[in-house]
């Protein structure tokens, strides 16, 4: 699982060079970030609040415009594309959000099918007349995440974990090459958090997706991901395997704190469930 944490895979799905973002307020959110992510790799992006994690993934699909640098998706430069070409780029990038970001008054099926919007014309989407293959795919994915009986439920009728599953299904409907995940577990309880992380990581492996997950829970990240990148004040300060996160490294990323309750070896996954929950309760959210 951990044999390759860097881009020694042949397909480089995402390639960021010198990515910099300075907001209109003058805050430097990203400072010359270089990062490559190969297909099939699940990468956790960790760092204190305000380190630029959200900005980084939002720059990748251009919800935030980078100030300078280049973004290459599967070899195509998408840093400056506009209009149709931007939409073509975005549909190859699935995104999963912290607060699920479902459209709550739409049904589960409509939410999932909204992942196909960039593939169908306006009138088709307006009358909800999606191609049969799209509907079949939506159903398959909903089955995969265990929500196939909920297709007609409204988004606001679901629990947090269910909403996040719909969010995952919507992202997968895009048939993405890259998945951006912003704090997927921040609003979930520890058990649901694990289930969601496991689901995301399994799906990424199944579909060979490059994945960037912003996450605060270091122990949870260590358990599931292939590679960890630590961000501090907009710059990368750690890039390596999850087991390389020593207390010294965590101090570099987050600042001084007692890390002994969070740090653990990644091979005792099974028995550590309970311990981890305790660690989370005791301050595993730095």
């Amino acid at each position: 699982m951990n044999e390759s944490y860097k881009n020694n895979s042949e397909v480089c799905m995402l390639d960021l060079k010198g990515l910099t973002k300075r907001y209109a307020t003058g805050d430097l959110a990203l400072d010359n970030v270089d990062l490559t992510v190969p297909a099939g790799q699940v990468l956790a992006l960790i760092g204190p609040s305000g380190a630029g994690k959200s900005t980084l993934i939002r720059c990748v699909n251009r919800l935030v415009e980078p100030t300078s640098g280049t973004i290459k998706l599967d070899g195509d430069d998408i840093t400056k594309v506009r209009g149709n070409r931007l939409r073509q780029a975005r549909r190859q990038i699935g995104m999963i959000f912290q607060n699920y970001a479902l459209v709550e008054r739409l049904s589960v099926m409509e939410n999932v099918l909204s992942g196909r919007l960039a593939y169908v014309g306006f009138w088709r989407s307006y009358f909800r007349k999606f191609p049969q293959s799209d509907i079949a795919q939506a159903f398959r994915i909903l089955e995969r995440v265990g929500l196939e009986t909920m297709i007609d439920k409204r988004g606001d009728a679901l629990s947090g974990g269910q909403k996040q599953r719909v969010g995952i299904a919507r992202a997968l409907m895009q048939n993405p090459k890259l998945l951006l995940v912003d704090e997927p577990t921040a609003s979930l309880d520890p058990k649901t958090s694990r289930q969601i992380m496991r689901l995301i990581c399994e799906l990424c492996t199944e579909q060979n997706l490059a994945t960037i997950i912003n996450i605060h829970d270091v122990a949870l990240a260590q358990q599931f991901v292939h590679r960890v990148v630590g961000l501090r004040a907009g710059a990368i300060v750690y890039d390596g395997p999850p087991e390389g996160l020593t207390p010294e490294i965590l101090t570099t990323i987050y600042g001084e704190e007692d890390w002994t309750t969070t740090h653990k070896d990644s091979d005792d996954e099974e028995k550590s469930d309970k311990k981890d929950v305790e660690a989370a309760l005791l301050g595993g959210h730095p």
Partner: protein, 278 residues
């Protein structure tokens, strides 16, 4: 919140420790606070002495007022029944047509006037339309349109449609600005086109409010149609005006009761529909 603006008041903290605490006053400067209170009081006293009420005239008018109110107990729906029916039908038609046209035009203006979804130039353009529509009271617009199109309900329809644009577009834009941002981001991130984005991310969030506002505007337009009728824009207002001019208060009372009844009905209806669209 931040250290820069929070002066630590040691006296207050010491007092709180002893269990004595009052909320901070709205205006922290003591002199300014009392100055404003004094100014408000002075204003009220001056107003009292500057208003000159002619009590003799009030007594005189009271007779007519009692006469008018008294006629509510003997409303006459029959004598001018034909005129009332015609005026009512005209008003209802005006109201309905004007509301539909007004809302149809208000939706694009409202979308353009929402800061979070419209580009800056479009935003300013649409806000200008809203400001124009809201600056002028219905009566003034009605006078203008009566001058343009002549007496009758056509002028009324244009007046009400124009007023509806400002009202609906402003409130719709505000609701769009209050919409949750994450779903907007999420649908944008799927690569959806602009219209798809509006249809999937914005419309579901604002639809209940849009329906509620439309019904509310429908009954405002009906009430306004009674008022603008007085300046010649047709409808039940013209009937009401004629009856008042003839001192035919029994008929006026009948007209007013009908207006009250219809507004009440639309009130209940919109309450019901809002519950159903939540």
């Amino acid at each position: 919140m931040s250290a820069s603006n929070a002066q630590v008041d040691h006296a207050r903290i010491a007092a709180a420790k002893q269990g004595s605490w009052r909320p901070l006053p709205l205006i922290s400067n003591r002199n300014l606070r009392w100055g404003l209170n004094l100014a408000a009081l002075t204003y009220i006293v001056l107003v009292y002495y500057s208003v000159d009420i002619n009590w003799a005239r009030v007594a005189q008018g009271m007779d007519r007022a009692i006469n008018f109110v008294g006629s509510f107990f003997t409303p006459d729906f029959v004598t001018r029944g034909g005129e009332i029916a015609v005026g009512l039908r005209e008003s209802l038609t005006m109201t309905f047509v004007a509301t539909v046209i007004g809302i149809a035009l208000a939706i694009p203006v409202g979308l353009g006037a929402a800061r979070n979804i419209a580009p800056r130039p479009v935003y300013f353009f649409c806000r200008t339309i809203i400001a124009l529509s809201r600056t002028f009271q219905e009566i003034i617009i009605a006078i203008l349109f009566v001058a343009m199109f002549g007496f009758g309900p056509l002028a009324g329809v244009f007046t009400l449609a124009f007023a509806t644009i400002g009202f609906m577009a402003k409130l719709l834009a505000e609701d769009i600005e209050d919409a949750q941002n994450e779903p907007l981001e999420a649908i944008r991130a799927t690569g959806a086109g602009w219209l798809q984005w509006i249809n999937y991310a914005v419309q579901p969030q604002v639809m209940p409010r849009l329906i509620g506002l439309s019904l509310y505007r429908l009954d405002i337009n009906f009430r306004e149609s009674a008022v603008i009728g007085i300046v010649g824009a047709g409808g039940i207002g013209a009937t009401l005006n004629t009856s008042i001019n003839r001192y035919d208060y029994d008929t006026s009372a009948a007209v007013l009761l009908i207006i009250i009844g219809i507004v009440l009905m639309s009130e209940y209806l919109s309450g019901y529909v809002r519950k159903w669209t939540a």
